[in-house]
């Protein structure tokens, strides 16, 4: 990385920060990779298609011994509330029986005296009644990746032989519809080629309690498709069309995490994902060999971007908390670059997803490559909220209800 003016993490003086009284917040969410391979070959995948090919060196399956050791580290490190998400690769490649054993270990080690939440993020292909039975036994809530209707979904989410996966994924989602208490929601990656409202309505047809729309990963050196410098806020416009459809619905049939987060932030609350807001990142990734890493999407920046140094002895989670890369993501507004610190909406957008800020010359202390889109979307939502409140106040002043 070059020596740009706003470069940080490795140059961040954590010793000076702690001397001034700053203290890191312990990790409370753990993304546990129980299988490191995938049965799909999605074109936009940040694990298999990115610059970092570290997955090749990982064991395929996380063993019970590795998870047991990791859970003991978590138990020593974390507070009374812990969220553990079984992830991959495709976690269900590990099989329902292995998932059962791993969830049992997590519950036995982490459950007593703690609020433990278990989750599973899957592509849905192997989601069947035997998996549902395991999830029901351990209270595992499941989210599935679906990119909208068949044409939209199959644009990227394909098997290695090029076949689309939509029909088979929907069979998995049907299992969740039969076990609604296990159904966490659907994650959809945005593609500007797909119609926004048709995409949203295709997801709604699957009756998810929550939906989220994820911007495709990219950065200033490798911009996402359709995000040309100085170009129109195409992603912001795309998302705003869905926002209007969602906001104007007479009944709330599904939450949309990104919109719910922006609304909450506009009302003075906090976000619940890393997409927007300035809340400290308290997530650690545990690879199939037990190694602690940062979130996977950073792999799109440069090879090794997720790596967290550790020294022998001691709890690796405690050690990771003082690594500059982790600290930088817990500093809120202070970690933003100068442009963002001076921006009126920085408290709302928080410079967007950390991954999308990367530029080789200056590291991560930049605005998001999606800055025009986030600005457009947040402005649109703010206007819609203000207009609704004005309408209500006018109605009340005139004596109507």
């Amino acid at each position: 990385m070059g020596a740009g003016q706003d470069t940080w993490p490795d140059d961040l003086d954590v010793t000076a920060l702690t001397a001034r009284g700053w203290r890191p917040k312990t990790f409370n969410q753990f993304v546990v990779k129980i299988h490191s391979r995938c049965n799909l070959a999605c074109g936009y995948c940040y694990v298999y298609e990115s610059a970092d090919q570290g997955w090749r060196a990982q064991p395929r399956v996380m063993t019970e011994a590795v998870l047991t050791a990791a859970c003991h580290q978590i138990a020593e490190h974390a507070g009374r509330s812990v969220s553990l998400v079984f992830h991959g690769g495709e976690p269900l490649l590990a099989g329902a029986d292995h998932l059962d054993r791993l969830a049992g270990i997590a519950t036995r080690v982490l459950g007593p005296g703690r609020r433990l939440r278990l989750g599973l993020q899957t592509n849905g292909l192997l989601l069947d009644e035997s998996v549902a039975e395991v999830c029901d036994r351990w209270g595992i809530r499941v989210a599935v990746s679906v990119d909208g209707d068949e044409a939209g979904h199959d644009r990227h989410r394909r098997f290695r032989d090029g076949r689309g996966s939509h029909a088979e994924v929907l069979r998995g989602v049907e299992v969740l519809r039969r076990h609604r208490h296990l159904y966490a929601g659907l994650l959809c990656t945005v593609d500007l080629s797909n119609d926004p409202v048709a995409t949203y309505e295709a997801l709604l047809a699957l009756e998810p309690p929550t939906v989220d729309f994820l911007l495709p990963h990219g950065n200033w050196d490798n911009p996402p498709p359709g995000r040309a410098a100085g170009g129109p806020p195409a992603y912001g416009t795309w998302l705003s069309a869905i926002f209007d459809r969602w906001f104007d619905a007479p009944v709330r049939t599904a939450g949309v995490r990104l919109f719910d987060d922006i609304l909450a932030l506009l009302l003075g609350g906090a976000g619940r994902s890393e997409s927007v807001g300035l809340q400290p990142i308290r997530v650690a990734v545990i690879e199939t060999d037990g190694t602690i890493e940062q979130v996977d999407s950073l792999k799109t920046a440069f090879p090794g971007a997720t790596r967290v140094r550790s020294t022998p002895g001691g709890n690796p989670l405690d050690q990771a908390l003082l690594e500059p890369q982790i600290v930088a993501r817990q500093l809120g507004r202070d970690a933003l670059g100068a442009t963002c610190r001076e921006c009126a909406i920085s408290e709302i957008c928080g410079a967007g997803n950390y991954t999308h800020r990367f530029r080789a010359e200056t590291g991560f202390r930049n605005p998001s490559v999606y800055c025009p889109d986030l600005t457009f979307l947040i402005g649109h939502i703010r206007e819609r909220v203000s207009a609704e409140l004005t309408k209500i106040h006018a109605r009340r002043r005139s004596g109507g209800v």
């Binding site: 993020q121 995490r257 609350g269 999407s297 109605r395 209800v401």
Partner: protein, 51 residues
């Protein structure tokens, strides 16, 4: 830097809350709930992670 927070007055007025759109009402309830950590149907992970 001007704050971009939207001010909602009369929040303790149930009538005002009832007049809000369902999406906005859910946001108000979330922000002012005592447990702003996990709503019903919320995702398990903070991570913006697809598969």
């Amino acid at each position: 830097m001007e704050s971009q927070a939207v001010e909602i007055v009369d929040l303790d007025d149930d009538d005002v809350l009832a007049e809000l759109s369902p999406a906005l009402r859910a946001a108000v309830e979330r922000v002012y709930s005592s447990d702003d950590q996990e709503g019903p149907g919320g995702f398990n992970s903070f991570v913006d992670a697809d598969l």
